[in-house]
């Protein structure tokens, strides 16, 4: 377990993961559940355990839609999406660890795609 990394993630997300009562509602409500290897409740639990690297190396961090459904519906006000975001940032902030390369973008586009999608993707994937 990497203690520094855990602290960094906790500071960055501002979430008290100890508030989680492990009900699994976040994962029950998550629209990206099936696309994820690790699910919102696991993010909270694994961060609590300090198992951050596993999460950073998983594609799950790019599957969160930031729809905040887990944030609003969590009975304990734990805000799992913020945890996912913090782990994702920890990952892409590492040198050469961008999830996407600007050169890849043109082929992904179609003419109706609003640039809002591209800007957001940049925020999520690239540092």
């Amino acid at each position: 377990m990497n203690k520094n990394l855990k602290e960094q993630v906790l500071r960055s997300c501002g979430v008290n993961v100890l508030k989680c009562m492990r009900c699994g509602k976040c994962s029950g409500t998550c629209p990206s559940y099936d696309e994820m290897e690790y699910h919102p409740h696991q993010f909270v639990y694994m961060v609590e355990r300090g198992d951050i690297e596993t999460l950073m190396n998983s594609k799950s961090i790019y599957k969160c839609l930031t729809c905040f459904a887990c944030v609003d519906r969590c009975p304990r006000n734990v805000e799992p999406a913020k945890v996912v975001e913090a782990v994702r940032l920890a990952a892409i902030r590492q040198q050469g660890n961008n999830h996407m390369n600007p050169n890849q973008i043109p082929e992904m586009l179609d003419e109706d795609m609003p640039q809002q999608a591209i800007v957001t993707a940049f925020r999520k994937y690239i540092k």
């Binding site: 009900c23 699994g24 994962s27 029950g28």
Partner: protein, 663 residues
Amino acid sequence: MQRIGVFVCHCGTNIAATVDVKAVAEALGHEPGVIVSQDYQYMCSESGQNLVKNAIKEHNLTGVVVCSCSPRMHENTFRKAAASAGLNPYLVEIANIREQCSWIHKDIASATEKAIILGKAAVAKVHLNAPLTAGESPVVKRALVIGGGIAGIQTALDIAEAGFDVDIVEKQPTIGGKMAQIDKTFPTLDCAACILTPKMVEASQNEHITIHSYSEVSDVKGFVGNFTVTIKKKARFVDETKCTGCGLCTEKCPMNKVPNEFNMGFDNRSAVYIPFAQAVPKVATIDPNYCMMLKTGKCGVCSKVCSVGAIDYKQEDKLIEQKYGAIVVATGFNPINLDKYDEFAYNQCPDVVTSLELERLMNAAGPNGGTLLRPSDKTHPHKIVFVQCVGSRCDDSKGKPYCSKICCMYTAKHAMLIREKYPDTEVYVFYIDVRTPGKNFDEFYRRAVEQYNVHYIKGMVGKVTPRSDGKIDVQASDLLANEQLHIDADMVVLAAAIEPDKTARPLATMLTTQMDTNDFFTEAHPKLRPVESATAGIFLSGACQGPKDIPETVAQASAAAAKAIGLLVKNSITCNPCVAHSDELMCNGCSSCEKVCPYGAITYIDKEFKMPDRTVAIRRVASVNPAVCQGCGACTVACPSGAMDLNGFSNSQIIAEVDAICK
């Protein structure tokens, strides 16, 4: 001249090992007023007490100081000993030289020095002690029970059994409360009505019990043993004494599309109604919100069909005032409103229901005569999903922070009953934890799983989407399978958190009792005084104090009754004499003390004073009711003139202690 005796206890070696008790006795013997100073092995033993008693008699002592363990331990012992030797018990002071000296210090010299100082402080204080006599206050031999659910009924029955008059105030037209709406009870599955209605009848027939249904408490004054309560009897527009409960008016009433709250709105009642067949009192009530006669002056059908002339459209709210010695609060609970949790689609889909609604849907006296049908299309549901902890165990910002306690068990009950009656129906229960601490509770839950094959899934429902084909898509997590599930359910049942009745908070203010942040009444002590409120003479029964199931409620109801009876059997109660008192000559009448008194013990009177110039002046002065005052002393500091002082802990006594310590 004071004649004070000092008694230094060795407490075996507990004190004597670190404190030179002889030196303490010697030193204190030289204090002014001290005429006898002795030490003894065990002062609290019978022979030790005799030592004290004999000294009191022999030396005609005016005050006693015992240097021993904490006053919390043996103050009463020595007070009783003093009293039996003819000395006022409040002329005894304890110097705590064990817990606060010998047990915490190692150095004999400094511990002895400190023990002497503590002894000196006690001697200084006892010099100023006044003999106190506990006052007495008469007890009105009548109890009031607020709330007529099972808690209130049980309490009233028990108090009546002991031979005391007791009144039940119930805001609904009938007593019975939530239990009357419940179908079966866990863990035995006997029918709620079968065990409740005999008690309701018993209550109505008991000569000691008066039921004020359709009534509310509107004011409470007074104190333990002597409360004056104003009860508002709301106009029901039916003369209770005449109505026979025949029900003809309810059948003939043309306004028959009023949602029936007893059946959770699943069917209708008329504007004049009797909530249910076994209602007590079985008397009709006219709902002024719907009655055409009351709203427009046109109709009058019920009046025409009533053969006994019980209908009275001119009836008005009536206030009655009654005195009580004890009050028992039994205001109960309600399920919370679910607007905040519409991810479960409660507001969108009639087939998403609360557990209490399910009780009515399954009840033989319910809207479907006991056949479980979906509210939307009256078809039989084949797949039912139960969701636990809806609004319970939440962060404060998201719902109730507590566990509602009863949901796990009633859900197991529902699941079992459904599986028993409709074996073709699949039942899923989404749970976070299954909490079954209670006699035969876990066995009951295991039966649901093992015998009835109810699918318990550890996880939580995240989204409920009703579909046009009548199915309800339930999206949930299955934490053990690490899967997100979608279940095509026919019905969803939500275990809504329960909360105290909304009337509880204003009532608590009237009663000057404490409440927690969730509006549950606070007991005087969470372990040792669980059915008393901190306010003397006010007792707690049932779910108003915290979530409870029926057996617990009944147990607490009887316990509250026992406590109330314990009070009512007394002709008078002894009051704590260490209470505040006001020096009328110094009192400014400024009301500061009244504002900080948590018990409402201070009132003001206009009093005549002869002035030095022989004129008479009328001044407003504070007066403390010693039966109500609990002796906290808040008033003594609020009083700028120092008119207010506290028996047993007077300004001069405390200052004497300060001086003795600082000398």
